[in-house]
Symmetry: C2
DNA sequence: CTGAAAGCGCTAACAC
DNA sequence: GTGTTAGCGCTTTCAG
């Protein structure tokens, strides 16, 4: 890794003709070491360019001072905001954060989690891959009692700290909002029903319809992976129905946008002829035209909370698992606001 | 970290009444171990739920199998794309990636780099903080001969592998394009002139003006931190000039967008009255209205290349430092295309 | 082909 | 207040 010449506590000790333990203690500000020796040691350490070898220390202490974070995609605003929040808290607490992305693939997720285990992370913060169906790799973490926190996408059958947004409520409010705007036939583009997140969004949608006495029509619900192309395919399918919808609650902003572009190209006016609402409040949703109504999820906060939860488990051996449900916010923008009830300031 | 019960190679050895060294060798597929014993060992390891302790192995091997990545902001499309590229290559090569963000603050960058050194990363990939002015912390990496790769924002005075985009050419082409579109008085919003990146973009701008016989007017150039609010302030300042510009080459897409919104609110038509070009091809730039002309930087590719370079240094002790300049691409969209010479497909 | 032994750099009883 | 010692889990000579 480096030149062999990296100084160790033994080098410092030899230089000062004292023992390595004294050096070790001084470096940790152990009060048993006299101020004088401590200062001498610090001075020599500095002059030799000494840097503690965290690996050795970790081995000895049986901890890595490292928190693992696994996300489906780094390269997505919501997830990078979460990572940013985790990093913020963890760094301040003196932890290193290692990040990996599963690309939503079960196999990559398994490999990552095993590698993190082998690296003896002190805790794991994870949002599971859409494709995952088997959770043995995560159960192992639980079995070994390694702190585990799920965020956004949690596994119901595993006991752990969980932090999610209120997807049900989000789905409910989106749907209610569309109804309030006078839309009569509301479709839904749902994400993988393996994930509670998307189940909840859909259930919120169904519940809101029911509460308003609107019959639920399964042909208006399309389930897919919510990438841009899926949005186009789904909207095509919906528009081919004998009675197409006049509004669509899209499972995320990506599909909301791709649907919107498709519809616009077909000459369908938004929000006049068709209402569109997304989910996640991706940065682009406020700046596209028409701007996209959506549900804001507090990503950065979620990351901070997840980090706090895992630090709690790590440092206080907390063993009562909590599920934290963060509120969502309905942001009404142009794409669904045909009654012009409010105007979101189009600005950063 | 875990329960004490994590099995080690000694536990496996005891179980099979053989020595730990044999187990170690078998686990590494050392050919000196007979197939029979190897298989027995693998079977027992599997049944005991053995996972190698990478920390111990790293200590012994004096390497961490870890690559450090430092970015100004995780939560920015370009940087998260780079991270994604690094992660892609590093993971395949069996390395762990640890990521930290400097928030563009010099002090945080120093703390991060020192922490990464203490963690004995095998190499460091970094894009330096805008606020940084002192590079001692990075020189230390060089002195210790730890592989170092700069991407996007490099330090000229430090010898290392570097991978940048052709910012000069990018700035040049943006400006030439604006001239070709018939804009006569072109302003520039420049980023911190501590960073070569922004110096080059500005120099490209100046050179293009010169080549076209347009005198360079310093009052048309505003230097700031290129956050959204800076864009607004800068455009206000430019519009208050006795002869305001009729086009602005913004240092990034964020300021391009905020300027555009400000101008639109003032009733200035884009691109008719004012041409706007950004830089970086943030995802939103293609979907806003008008869509923003910009320079595409291949983030994911850059990350992959950076990872390849560092692996080369780590594994082949490569000591000839290269600077890789990736080409940029001018993407002409609505915000500067008043001659309608081409139409970028507004789609994913 | 397998084993014994030493040591990576640090920490923490346990001594004095 | 400081030193001695053992050991974290793994790898790797060196022997046989």
């Amino acid at each position: 890794m480096h030149k062999k010449s990296d100084p160790t506590i033994h080098d410092i000790a030899r230089e000062l003709k004292i023992s390595a333990s004294t050096v070790s203690r001084a470096l940790q500000n152990n009060p048993r070491i006299s101020l004088k020796t401590r200062e001498k040691i610090l001075a020599v350490a500095e002059s030799m360019g000494y840097r503690p070898n965290v690996i050795a220390s970790n081995l000895r202490n049986k901890r890595s001072n490292t928190i693992g974070v696994v996300v489906p995609l780094i390269n997505r605003y919501f997830f990078s905001a979460v990572i940013s929040g985790v990093e913020d808290i963890a760094f301040k607490a003196g932890y290193t954060v290692v990040i990996s992305q599963s690309n939503d693939l079960a196999n990559k997720e398994i490999a990552i989690v095993q590698s993190m285990f082998a690296n003896r992370v002190d805790g794991l913060i994870i949002s599971i891959a859409m494709q995952a169906t088997n959770y043995e790799h995560l159960k192992m973490f639980r079995k070994k009692n390694i702190p585990l926190v799920f965020f956004d996408r949690a596994v119901a059958e595993i006991e752990a700290d969980k932090i999610v947004v209120d997807d049900f409520n989000g789905g409910y409010r989106v749907t209610q909002h569309l109804i309030d705007q006078g839309y009569k036939r509301i479709g839904h583009m749902a994400g993988s029903q393996n994930l509670q997140t998307y189940i909840d969004r859909k259930n919120g949608y169904i519940e809101a319809l029911a509460k308003n006495g609107i019959p639920h029509d399964e042909s208006l619900v399309i389930t897919n992976s919510l990438i841009a192309e899926d949005g186009v395919r789904a909207v095509q399918q919906l528009m081919n129905l004998s009675v197409p919808p006049d509004a669509i609650f899209c499972g995320n902003d990506t599909t909301a946008l791709s649907s919107m572009i498709y519809l616009r190209d077909k000459g369908i006016r938004i929000p006049e002829d068709m209402g569109i609402v997304g989910f996640s409040n991706e940065p682009f949703s406020r700046v596209v035209s028409p701007s996209i109504s959506t549900i804001a999820q507090p990503g950065f906060l979620m990351g901070q909370k997840a980090a706090e939860m895992i630090l709690n488990q790590i440092e206080h051996k907390e063993r009562i698992f909590k599920t934290l449900v963060l509120p969502t916010e309905l942001i009404i923008r142009e794409s669904s606001n045909r009654k012009k009830i409010k105007d979101d300031q189009l600005f950063f």
